[in-house]
């Protein structure tokens, strides 16, 4: 009788542990996907492109990119290249992982300078000099 009861308790304990492991791994999966680079790449690229398009010449903008820097450091990416401009195609490029990134076009024709300073990205927008 005692042996049967022990088996039942052991079975219940294993069952509960398995459930906890299962739910914890699901929660970790949801958290991990939410913190992956590709989501931030898209968000930052679109945010910067919209800022450039809505700005007037002579504007300087500071953007907090601390989250992008965290992800890039986690991926051992060179911080200098995480946000850049493809001036030929008028595109903002954000690459937080290795060799891949996200590109988004802006329609304005300005002289734009990007500079990274600690956790901030400074965007200086000037009238195009011919």
């Amino acid at each position: 009788m005692n042996k049967k009861a022990d088996t039942l308790i052991l079975e219940q304990v294993i069952f509960i542990i398995l459930n906890i492991i299962f739910i914890a791994s699901l929660m970790y999966f949801v958290y991990d996907v939410g913190n992956r680079g590709f989501i931030y790449e898209e968000g930052y690229a679109k945010q910067i492109a919209l800022m450039i398009d809505s700005a007037e010449p002579g504007t300087a903008i500071l953007v907090d990119i601390s989250k992008a820097i965290d992800i890039a450091m986690k991926n051992k990416n060179n911080l200098e290249n995480i946000i850049s401009l493809d001036k030929k195609n008028n595109r903002v490029l954000v690459a937080l992982g290795k060799n891949r990134g996200y590109g988004y076009q802006y329609f304005s024709d300005y002289d734009i300078n990007l500079k990274l300073d600690a956790n901030w990205l400074s965007i200086v927008i000037e009238e195009k000099s011919d």
């Binding site: 999966f29 590709f38 898209e42 010449p57 329609f107 024709d109 195009k128």
Partner: protein
């Protein structure tokens, strides 16, 4: 709450299976339940994050505002010069409006209800597509912004009408 529900479900299944003396099948059944729940959550998360952020309506709004202000500021140039260079005057990149383009705009300038100037650039097909979304759900169609403004210039009544459309999906790139 989920664990409680699963325990209850398990008890019911044990009770049902005990009637037939087949309790061993429980593990297979249980893993099936876990697979369904896990699969559902993974699919849900994948659908949620693959949808992306659509900022086309914001961009169309910025483009139409920019054009409206620019044309209004350059009315002298526009009325005197037939070859009004909208790209230079409004700081727009000529390249992004060449086909295939993700952008489109059309500007009308009326003087006392008479059309004095019309400029359109970009992908002309957007103009029709802009208004399809009013009747049906069209996810990959352009988002558009319409703006108009009346004002007095050289003691005459003018009206500017701007339609701007953007259909940019963005994309992942290999470097």
């Amino acid at each position: 709450m989920l664990i409680g529900y699963l325990l209850l479900l398990r008890k019911k299944v044990i009770k049902m299976l005990n009637k037939f003396g087949r309790q061993k099948i429980l593990s297979a059944w249980w893993f099936f339940v876990l697979a369904v729940i896990g699969g559902g959550i993974v699919t849900g998360v994948w659908i949620y994050y693959s949808t992306g952020i659509n900022s086309n309506n914001l961009e169309a709004d910025i483009l139409s505002s920019k054009l409206l202000n620019c044309v209004k500021e350059n009315m002298n140039e526009l009325t005197l010069n037939r070859n009004f260079e909208i790209f230079n005057e409004c700081n727009l990149n000529r390249g992004v409006f060449e086909k295939p383009s993700n952008f489109y705009f059309r500007v009308f300038v009326f003087k006392e209800d008479e059309l004095v100037s019309e400029i359109k650039k970009g992908d002309f097909s957007f103009e029709k597509d802009c208004f399809i979304e009013e009747n049906v759900v069209a996810i990959r169609f352009p988002k558009c912004s319409v703006k108009k403004q009346s004002f007095v210039f050289n003691n005459e009544n003018y009206e500017i009408f701007v339609l701007a459309g953007v259909n940019q999906q963005g994309g992942r790139l290999d470097f």
